[in-house]
């Protein structure tokens, strides 16, 4: 789709293509600019949004109970095996590996956000 659009714009001439690229950059920031910026720490709001997304992708989560303070077991309805899987999905989302003793302590959305916020290598 995007290639085809670019090709159409290229056919319209170099100026048109340049304008299209600038326009697109403003409208839809590439993920790399938002999340992988050099040296920048992740904004808490971004972390929360991405953790919510992980939870939304997990079938067993009670979707209407997702909140910044939700407890994986009490609110989201997850058992201990599910919780292991969710925490591992969060690991993959932020490209970090969480040691067992740390992962065991993450039982709420808030604890997950706090943990990722504290990990300077999360991205």
């Amino acid at each position: 789709m995007r290639l085809a659009a670019a090709a159409t714009r290229a056919a319209a001439g170099p100026r048109a293509l340049g304008a299209a690229c600038v326009g697109r950059r403003i409208a839809v920031p590439p993920l790399s600019l938002r999340w992988y910026s050099a040296g920048g720490e992740l904004a808490r709001a971004d972390i929360q949004e991405r953790i919510f997304q992980v939870l939304q992708d997990f079938d067993k989560v009670k979707q209407d109970k997702i909140s910044p303070v939700a407890d994986f077991a009490k609110d989201l309805g997850l058992d201990s095996l599910d919780t292991v899987e969710v925490v591992m999905a969060i690991e993959e989302e932020f490209s970090v590996e969480i040691p067992d003793d740390e992962a065991d302590k993450i039982t709420t959305v808030k604890e997950a956000i706090d943990y990722i916020s504290a990990r300077k290598d999360a991205h």
């Binding site: 095996l81 292991v84 899987e85 590996e97 067992d100 065991d104």
Partner: protein, 119 residues
């Protein structure tokens, strides 16, 4: 309980190093096995269950260690295969047929071959 969860996490983590298709199959299997043993409390069932998964994890870690590149898995013990009854042997043969061609590179390839096309 914590040990069981750590074993579970360790296995899922080891599966990350597998080719995509093997990881998918492996994750599904370990999930359903652990889930179906959740309510089990008898040591005579649990002990062999955890012992088998622990040795599986040790083997997988060894085989996926960077630099070995030897692929993963192991052959079935012929003595065990001999002890299968006809139904089980038939199931095993069926599994072999179904999986044959899905992975003939013994799991070492970073890009898994496409799934088999059956007529």
């Amino acid at each position: 309980m914590t040990d069981a969860l750590h074993l579970y996490r360790g296995i899922l983590r080891a599966h990350r190093l597998l080719p995509r298709e093997l990881r998918f199959v492996g994750d599904q299997y370990v999930r359903s096995e652990f889930r179906s043993h959740r309510a089990v409390t008898e040591r005579r069932f649990l002990d062999p269950f955890f012992a088998q998964w622990t040795s599986y994890l040790a083997l997988l870690r060894e085989q996926t260690r960077a630099g070995t590149g030897a692929g993963v898995g192991r052959h079935l013990d012929p003595a065990l295969v001999d002890r299968l009854d006809d139904d089980k042997a038939e199931q095993l043969l069926e599994l072999h047929r179904a999986s044959h061609g899905a992975d003939d590179s013994s799991g070492g390839s970073a890009v898994p071959p496409p799934p088999p096309r059956r007529k």
